[in-house]
């Protein structure tokens, strides 16, 4: 699991682990808690071209549907098959085993650091 201090964040509650030119993307624990128990995850396919801000997937809980906004631009190099089979992993380990996809980036927009994201969610 990544150190949450080292991750970058979006206002749409995704996190980005930008270590090198392939970044890992997931949703934050805050977002997972807001959704409730996640029961279905829809992700793009490996090879898909994605753009920052684009809706590239969905996470459904028993209660609601959340859209997954791509935080970066580039090409999808991997999607997490484990979360498709066991979506509850996104709730139990959102920053670790619950990662969603990896993207070879062509563009990395300005993202939030941990302090800025915490300020957004009202976390202490």
């Amino acid at each position: 699991m990544a150190n949450e201090q080292d991750l970058q964040y979006t206002a749409d509650h995704e996190w980005v682990d930008a270590d090198g030119d392939v970044v890992t993307v997931g949703i934050t624990g805050y977002a997972a808690a807001q959704l409730g128990d996640i029961v279905y995850v829809d992700l793009p396919k490996v090879g898909d071209e994605v753009e920052a801000g684009q809706v590239i997937g969905e996470l459904e809980s028993t209660k609601s549907v959340g859209e997954l906004f791509c935080p970066v631009s580039g090409t999808v190099t991997a999607v997490n098959a484990d979360v498709a089979a066991s979506p509850e992993v996104v709730n139990s380990d959102p920053l670790g085993a619950g990662w969603l996809l990896k993207v070879q980036v062509t563009g990395l927009p300005d993202l939030l650091d941990k302090a800025a994201y915490d300020a957004l969610t009202g976390a202490a």
Binding site: Q34, G36, Y40, E60, T62, K63, S64, N91
Partner: protein
């Protein structure tokens, strides 16, 4: 626009301490979940869950003319409901549309307790006040002075029987008497009790499809009552349960929700509640001509839909027959108990038996019409 701070339940601090996440619902800040929607849902099906329903509206109709007034005001024939029993009924508009669904408890010859949805509190109070004019009856909105918690699930009764401090509110005001009455209390009946000296109405009613009880008491009593219920019940699997679990539970049980399955534009027959229309009812009531007309059947009817996989249709999604939109989903979720998606939807009567699909954000999800409820508890 109403942007006032949402009202907090008298149990708010208890919920915060239990780690609840809150949602705003009908002007109230209420627990949406504690540990997790699914765990809470399963606990109610398998053991028991405790719900804070402080947001619900409690309205008293009192006076020698109360029975006749309610007969004129509501779909059901409340004058024939014996004291000690509850009845599920509807408030209609003049066109036969549903303005709210209600549980009405007859608490005395001249007294009724009408329980309405939080969002409809003002509408129900206003309509009842208008409709009791000319009868020797009055309407009192007691929502601020009556709180409500519900214990639901197969172990509810055994838990409630162990709670110390209850006494029957009758000629034999003892704990023994209370337990005897509770042990033999039948569905949609209630009894009057005192807990630690304070009045509590204990009703065998609920909105989950399980056995269970609803406890009406002064709001100030609820934190202590909640604490003792949790203390006694925890070992039997009782968990606090939020509005998210309440919604999936009632959906599985095929119970309509105002604003989803029930609206001012739908008739009882369309909503599958035609049984509530009593053609032999003695008194005229608002909406009678409309709901007794053949047109009350309506063009669309509420159906249950089941699908495969894990992706659910949600409220507002179209129901399609090929390229033709033939209906709309009113509630839907992946059923925690059944493991497949379920939905309730209004569908054109002539399309009910077609090969339907739910349009899930552009992807057709094949769906089969099934009888409601999706889930019934074993007798």
């Amino acid at each position: 626009m109403p942007d006032a701070t949402p009202r907090q339940s008298p149990l708010h601090d208890v919920h915060v301490a239990a780690g609840a996440a809150f949602t705003e619902f009908a002007g109230w800040s209420m627990p949406v979940r504690y540990s997790g929607d699914l765990a809470e849902h399963h606990a109610v099906r398998r053991a028991a869950g405790l719900f804070d329903l402080s947001h619900m509206a409690e309205i008293l109709v009192l006076g020698p003319g109360a029975a006749d007034a309610l007969d004129a005001a509501l779909l059901g024939e409340l004058s024939t409901t014996p004291v000690g029993r509850a009845k599920y009924t509807l408030l209609l508009n003049g066109e036969g549309g549903v303005e709210d669904d209600l549980v009405v408890y007859r608490t005395g010859e001249d007294r009724y307790l009408v329980v309405a949805n939080a969002a409809n509190r003002d509408v129900v109070v206003d309509r009842l006040r208008d409709r009791v004019v000319g009868f020797d009856a009055e309407v009192q909105d007691e929502t601020d002075d009556i709180g409500l918690v519900a214990i639901q699930g197969p172990r509810s009764q055994e838990i409630l029987l162990e709670v110390p401090g209850f006494a029957a509110d009758d000629a034999d005001p003892t704990e023994v008497r209370f337990r005897a009455l509770l042990a033999s209390l039948r569905n949609y009946r209630f009894l009057r009790a005192n807990w630690d000296g304070h009045p509590v109405l204990v009703a065998r009613t609920g909105y989950t499809g399980e056995d269970g009880f609803e406890l009406y008491a002064a709001p100030s009593l609820l934190p202590r009552l909640w604490a003792v219920l949790m203390d006694i019940g925890r070992g039997s699997g009782l968990v606090p349960a939020g509005l998210a679990a309440r919604d999936t539970l009632r959906l599985e049980a095929g119970m309509p929700l105002y604003g989803h399955e029930l609206t001012a534009l739908t008739t009882p027959q369309q909503a599958g509640l035609g049984r509530l229309v009593q053609h032999g009812k003695g008194r005229d009531y608002v909406g009678r001509a409309a709901v007794e007309s053949p047109e009350a059947e309506g063009a669309r009817v509420l159906v249950g839909l089941r699908a495969e996989g894990r992706r659910a249709g949600r409220a507002g999604y179209p129901v399609v027959d090929g390229d033709r939109v033939v209906g709309v989903v009113t509630s839907g979720a992946l059923s925690p108990t059944l493991g497949h998606p379920i939905a309730m939807a209004y569908v054109d009567r002539d399309a009910v038996d077609a090969r339907l699909a739910i349009d899930v954000r552009g992807t057709p999800l094949p769906a089969t019409t099934v009888p409601l409820p999706f889930y019934s508890r074993k007798a």
